[in-house]
């Protein structure tokens, strides 16, 4: 089991979805080493998952593990806020 389990909800193959995926992959690579599992869920193909997780906005990133559950909304272009959301703020200035 990896230390981080991340779910990213996006809507179709829009530029905003692509941007979020690229931003997230870069952050994972730079800060989480290999200790993460990432699931990308398209709400148009799988609306029932969005229903279960009560997703309203896309893109939404959910940190399922480690607890507590965290939600980060947006295309993840503001890297500092993403790191705060993932409890990685100590990495900010390292």
């Amino acid at each position: 089991m990896k230390k981080y389990l991340l779910k990213l909800y996006v809507t179709g193959k829009t530029p905003r979805s692509e941007k979020a995926i690229i931003n997230l992959k870069r952050i994972c690579r730079d800060y989480l080493n290999e200790e993460y599992e990432l699931q990308v869920i398209d709400v148009i193909e799988n609306p029932q998952y969005a229903e279960e997780d009560k997703i309203l906005a896309t893109p939404t990133l959910i940190r399922v593990l480690p607890p507590p559950i965290r939600r980060i909304i947006g295309d993840l272009s503001e890297k500092d806020k993403v790191l705060i959301g993932l409890d990685l703020e100590k990495m900010l200035h390292s």
Binding site: A50, T58, T60, I73
Partner: protein, 505 residues
């Protein structure tokens, strides 16, 4: 549902919410979104849920409920009180929830641009799942508190309303207002659904709550204007009282019925008309309840069914009084010709009383109805609400071709008139005044038929007495003047002769 695509006319969807289709001239604009705005406690959520429930109960439409505020469990539980089995409907694929209520324990951080694509996808999924043609979204204010950027939310809500239109869904969006009279809704939500706006109000007036509904605008199609009273009942939910839908179309009959007193019948030119409204006005103790009681007994004699609404006295009191006047109410009730409904006016609002009165009349199907007294009902209402009640009751019983006798108490012992009369006198067909007459240190009772539409009637003020056989009407007061104005004066013999000869040549 009517369809007429050719001339681009706006088609309306019958909501089946009682009264709403009347005041909206046919229902909600089909395939469009209507904003329902109201202050806290104005029954927005009930309206939104009823819009879906009415479609399901009548088997005409299934619906999707999007909640931004209350939890799904709360809504299921709260609406059960109206008899709406949402849980069962969900299993039958007639009702689907989209739960967008906030999660209390989770915080979210915004890191970049976003839209509400997931919400739209979930709504579309739910609509497809139950094949919904109706959708309610309750309430918009709550989503603005979940997301800080209201410009994005407004844009996205507009996108959702466009998508709903494409899917052929008629939608109700609720939004909160901070004042009863002021801006339409908070956060400027009316800007993106500005075509149709309905306002629910819950106004505090003279320490009494009064609910009204108003269609503010319906772009491109007609509707009734102004505020209409409505109430929320446990069995039916929102019921709107469509005053403007009342039409002066009732038939008029020449058939006479007995007032219960042969002497009074004679004074009225042969009895009351079968479908007329009679007002009996008098001070306390002049014999109004007696007249209502005799009116009921008169029905039973002719094998009619009669209904008495008593708002002043208890059953026991009424039955004991009737026995005192030689009328056996208990026997009449057992025979099924009489029904007595006793209620304290304060137990409900006037709108609720009106709905109950109508309902009992529908069920019992009487040929005559008495309400004793209107003045007691006046206590629980504002002047405007009372006037609407009177119009509602009289038009209903006229429609049903029922005779109605209402009593009204005057505020002063001698003469005088009550506020009630001011509202009702033009609607009534007959008015009977009961008055105290003070002569030589004695209180006597006088009765006169002031008005009898469509018939000759006795113009005298007659003395009447009450004993254990009821009411007895005697001779006119020939030697007293000023009875109706409340200032009775004995006329000297000489004056009397002079008056008699006044018009002799």
């Amino acid at each position: 549902m009517q369809r007429d695509i050719t001339n681009n006319e706006i088609i309306k969807l019958e909501t089946l919410i009682p009264g709403f289709d009347h005041i909206s001239n046919g229902g909600l604009p089909l395939n469009r979104t209507t904003l329902v705005a109201g202050s806290a406690g104005s029954a927005k959520t009930v309206f939104a849920a009823q819009f879906l429930a009415a479609g399901i109960i009548t088997n005409t439409a299934s619906g999707v409920f999007v909640t931004f505020e209350e939890s799904v469990d709360d809504i299921r539980r709260n609406m059960k009180g109206f008899g709406w089995e949402i849980e069962k409907w969900e299993k039958e694929n007639k009702w689907a929830f989209v739960d967008a209520s906030p999660e209390p324990h989770e915080s979210s951080i915004v890191a970049g641009e976003y839209d509400l694509g997931a919400l739209l996808a979930r709504i579309e999924n739910a609509i497809t799942k139950v094949k919904a043609t109706r959708l309610s979204l309750d309430s918009l204010g709550a989503i603005f508190t979940q997301f800080s950027d209201s410009a994005i939310i407004r844009r996205e809500l507009f996108r959702i309303s466009v998508a709903l239109k494409k899917m052929g869904v008629t939608a109700v969006l609720t939004a909160e207002r901070t004042q009863e009279y002021g801006e339409i809704a908070r956060y400027g939500v009316e800007e993106f659904v500005a075509d149709n706006v309905v306002i629910l109000r819950n106004i505090l007036e003279d320490e009494k709550r009064r609910r009204t509904i108003e269609i503010l605008k319906y772009r491109g199609t007609s509707h009734q204007k102004g505020e209409f009273p409505f109430t929320v009942t446990p069995e039916k939910g929102v019921i709107i009282i469509p005053l403007s839908a009342i039409e002066l179309k009732q038939k008029s009959s020449n058939l006479r019925i007995s007032s219960g007193s042969t002497e009074l019948d004679k004074m009225c030119g042969g009895g009351f008309f079968r479908d007329s409204v009679i007002l009996v006005s008098g001070a306390t103790g002049t014999g109004k309840t007696l007249m209502a009681t005799e009116f009921m007994a008169g029905a039973a004699a002719g094998n009619e069914r009669c209904l008495l609404f008593a708002f002043e006295e208890s059953r026991e009191q009424l039955f004991r009084n009737a026995t005192g006047w030689g009328i056996d109410f208990e026997k009449l009730e057992n025979e099924g010709t009489l029904k007595v409904v006793c209620e304290y006016p304060e137990v409900a609002g006037l709108e609720d009383h009106l709905i109950e009165i109508k309902q009992v009349i529908e069920e019992f199907r009487p040929t005559r109805v008495a309400i004793d007294s209107l003045s007691a009902l006046e206590r629980v209402s504002t002047i405007k609400g009372f006037r609407e009640f009177i119009i509602g009751v009289t038009s209903f019983i006229k429609q049903k071709e029922i005779a109605g006798l209402f009593t009204s108490t005057t505020s002063t012992l001698m003469g005088g008139s009550s506020i009630t009369e001011g509202h009702i006198s033009t609607i009534t067909d007959s008015i009977i005044l009961l008055r105290y007459v003070e002569t030589f240190g004695e209180m006597r009772r006088g009765l006169t038929v002031l008005k009898m539409r469509g018939s000759m009637h006795d113009k005298d003020i007659r003395e009447f007495t009450i004993d254990n056989n009821g009411m007895h009407i005697g001779k006119p007061f020939r030697d007293v003047t000023g009875i109706i104005s409340g200032n009775p004066q004995k006329i000297q013999k000489g004056d009397f002769d002079r008056l008699d000869n006044l018009f002799d040549e």
